[in-house]
Amino acid sequence: MRVELLYYPECPSHERALERLQEALQAEGVDTPVEVIRIDTQAEAEAHRFVGSPTIRINGVEIDPQPQLPYRLTCRTFVHEDGRLSPLPSLTMLRRAIRQAKEVSNDGT
């Protein structure tokens, strides 16, 4: 499984996002390193299809796809299960995305 975390350093959520992502991976029994990618410029944002910090992809799939957003240097908003808006994905969102990636891998699709 390939796990990527892309972040913009001016957005303060990335360290906690990495901690939460690692917690989710551990909880789902996935032992894989997180590839951390720093985005500093608009050109890098466009090259990496980066819509905001943090962007997390598992096997290349966004955990919270927001295709309407432009590529840019900013923080992004996640909607939690209880409706709260947050700069971080919830642990539940992360675990669900990891499980889905595992299921796709097991299906061989």
């Binding site: 001016e10 957005c11 303060p12 959520s13 900013t74 923080c75 908003t77 700069p87």
Partner: protein
Amino acid sequence: MALEIGHSAYDFSLPGVDGKTYSLKDFADKPVLVLFFWCNHCPYVKAYEDRVIALAKEFGDRVAFVAINSNDPTQYPEDSFEKMKERAQEKGYPFPYLFDETQSVARAYQATRTPEFFVFDEERELKYHGRFDDNWEHPDQVKQEFVRDAIIALLNNEVPHYSQTPPIGCTIKWKV
């Protein structure tokens, strides 16, 4: 470095989403002024939005709350004046929401983030600068309510326990 504690509030003349133009004199009847840099798109603003609205409603008769958006809407269209109007109406902002199109007010206050709070006393001297409270993620786990504590201290003619905390949020989106 933001405005130093004790510094006087800079005056401004900015349009609000309600069609009026505001300056410091419009808030002169209130012994405390809470001026905060704000926007639509930042998730930290969204995380704090309901808390700030609740505080403004609680203290609105004695404290002036003023939100200012200085972000460049060409890069961040969600922060345009039209979108500001929509957001204020949708959430029922109980405070003026002003557009700092030239970004001169943010520069004068040396603000860097949204949200970022400046609390002034009756003489409009800065008494607190920084974040709203100590937990942006979990409102039910907040231990220090910095802005609220500063307001209460100033209403009691006392010095706030905390005068400065580092603001947390998105960077202000400057024009290039």
